[in-house]
């Protein structure tokens, strides 16, 4: 069963604050002076999305979504490592 209005719960307001911080971090992703700045912003946004998915699964009582959060976290780790490897190799070739 899905609740109609998630803002009756304090955790729903937590989701609002997390979305606000993600919008603040989008500035760093879009206008970051260098490439590593954008990578840092993207990793931070992904961790916030993981927390948002966990909160939504608890509020709506759809507990299978926690597995999805675990998978997204692991994909984030692999993506971050690959981007770091790419940065390292591109710096060496120049």
């Amino acid at each position: 069963m899905v609740e109609e209005n998630i803002l009756v719960n304090p955790f729903g307001w937590g989701i609002m604050v997390l979305i606000f911080t993600s919008v603040m971090l989008m500035y760093r992703v879009l206008f970051g002076p260098t490439l590593p700045d954008r990578v840092v912003g993207l990793n931070t946004i992904t961790t916030k999305v993981v927390v948002i998915i966990a909160i939504l699964s608890v509020i709506n009582k759809q507990y299978f979504l926690i597995d999805l959060a675990v998978v997204l976290l692991m994909v984030n780790a692999v993506g971050g490592l690959i981007l770091a490897k790419y940065l390292e190799r591109r710096g060496r070739s120049d």
Binding site: P10, F11, G14, V17, L18, F20, T21, M24, L25, Y27, R28, T34, L35, P36, D37, V39, V40, G41, N43, T44, T47, K48, V50, V51, A54, I55, V58, K61, Y63, I66, D67, A69, V70, L73, M74, N76, A77, G80, L81, L83, A84, K85, Y86, L87, E88, R90, G91, R92, D94
Partner: protein, 104 residues
């Protein structure tokens, strides 16, 4: 009651982490704010969720496992990005740089 206090602490930490990423001068100090505040805030909010739910023990254990994985994965990715950024050619704004002494 204590879970709402933990939630408020986590949200405040997250907001300060985002402000730090916006305000600090170069990549390495931004990584400080990103890693510490993200890990601390996410773990605190997940702990609050684990205290809040009560369907079964396994849901709480899954949330705690998610917090543990965040604490394991987030610093590791941050080391990788820091080393990659150094090799990419970004000079840190520091007073002393012993890494450049040893790897000219």
């Amino acid at each position: 009651m204590i879970e709402y206090m933990l939630l408020a602490f986590g949200e405040v930490v997250m907001v300060f982490g985002a402000l730090g990423i916006l305000r600090f001068p170069d990549v390495y100090t931004r990584l400080h704010a990103a890693t510490k505040c993200d890990t601390g805030g996410a773990m605190t909010i997940l702990l609050a969720l684990a205290l809040y739910t009560d369907p079964s023990v396994f849901i709480k254990l899954k949330l705690l496992l998610l917090a543990f994985l965040i604490a394991l994965i987030n610093p590791m990715v941050s080391h990788a990005i820091a080393k990659g950024a150094y090799k990419y050619g970004i000079k840190p704004k520091v007073v002393v740089d012993m890494y450049a002494w040893d790897n000219p």
